[in-house]
Amino acid sequence: MSDVIYPRDYSLLGRDAKRAGEIGLSNAQWYAAPIPRARIKELMKRSDGPAIRDSIIWFASFIITAGLAVYFYPGWGCIPFFIAYGVLYGSSTDSRWHECGHGTAFKTRWMNDVIYHIACFMIMRPPTIWRWSHTRHHTDTIIVGRDPEIAIMRPTVILRTISLFFAIPQTIGAIKNLLIHVSGHLTVEELTYVPEMERARVYLVARIWMALHLAVIALAFYLHSWLPVLLVGPLPTMYGAWVHIITGLTQHGGLAEDVLDHRLNSRTVLMNPILRFIYWNMNYHVEHHMFPMVPYHQLPKLYEEMKPYTAPANTSVINAYREIIPALLKQAKDPSYAIPRKLPEGVSLMTETIAAE
């Protein structure tokens, strides 16, 4: 749009936040595919079975990989098991945080809450803060100045993007914010989306987490061993982050900002069963954003229902990065560029897309 000023201001209190409110991009009406209510109801139905099964496998995988890593430590043989453990700790927790935060993974509420809190601790996302930030992400998906979860801001800073794979900026930010929360404060941006009544819980959880982290460090000193900090805390969050960044950047990477249609700013990517287990089917991302009440285990069916209304899915992670990497490089020089999405013949936008004008 002609009134867009580059570089964009991604802060939640800045120029583009004000602009989004003024031109109706904030809290707006979004396109929804015309799936019959009866079918959506079927797909929205909750059950505990799939997530209990997956969680048993998940916990067993933690125990096995950690056990073998400790068994072979400090020999070279421990490395593959630490890599696998790290992926569980620093990557699979992204999707567990996400699905259980929506409350859709399990039918039983407390099960969602238990897994949510475990995953939040591992991936170092304060549970209350991130529940609210993700709420905003769904209200104002990739709306500049409104969405606190835009992973790659434009112009692309290549080194920062690479550092995401090792969770460097995320972990530094998490530790900084943990200290702020421990002291009984929120950041100025968090104050814009976390209601007053929720704030005491943020401080309480931060203090519990700080105690846990300090206990792990104390144990490492006591044992004269790196093992405790290699298994719990910021280190596994960092060395295990790469898979969730590979999968996570496909969600919106390179696509349009400031459009009111998830088909234009989100990406569905077909993935293999192992990645889909780690990622809990969040590769069906257009479908998830359009119908966030559909549990992860029903998203493949929703994907089939939505095919007539959406652009074709990327056929693999490699296929997705074939368009993402050139787009990010181009956006480093031209932040107005976005990967165009071609919708099926005869399917048009419900609302005019604002940024494409």
């Binding site: 909750r46 409350g103 039918k107 709420t135 769904h138 929720e198 966030p292 009440m293």
Partner: protein
């Protein structure tokens, strides 16, 4: 004071489901519980004004379709983040095949 208005036919709402009803510029949600009782609340989520009739009814809970905020539709009670403000509820009655709500 009471002001009963006809909202829908009984069969317009399946058991354990919800239906939107608009009247005089206001939106309501009419619920039919699993035990075949009817309830009514304001139709928009107190969090971000999303139509609850597009949401999911589970027992006595309505879940907002946008952010999964949950209310007990029999009392209007908000059940936790991201919904913090209760829903307004309205009395209902069934006469023959019709469902009425008292909007007074």
């Amino acid at each position: 004071m009471t002001q009963w208005i006809e909202a829908c036919a009984k069969d317009d709402v399946a058991q354990e489901d919800v239906k939107r009803f608009d009247h005089a510029g206001h939106t309501y949600a009419i619920y039919r519980s699993p035990d075949d009782k009817f309830y009514a609340t304001d139709g928009l989520c107190t969090h971000e004004k999303i139509h609850l009739a597009d949401g999911l009814v589970m027992d006595h809970i309505i879940e907002c379709p946008k952010h999964n905020g949950r209310f007990d539709y029999t009392t209007g009670a908000a059940k936790g983040a991201p919904v913090c403000v209760n829903l307004k509820t309205y009395p209902t009655k069934v006469e023959g095949i019709k469902v009425f709500i008292n909007i007074a």
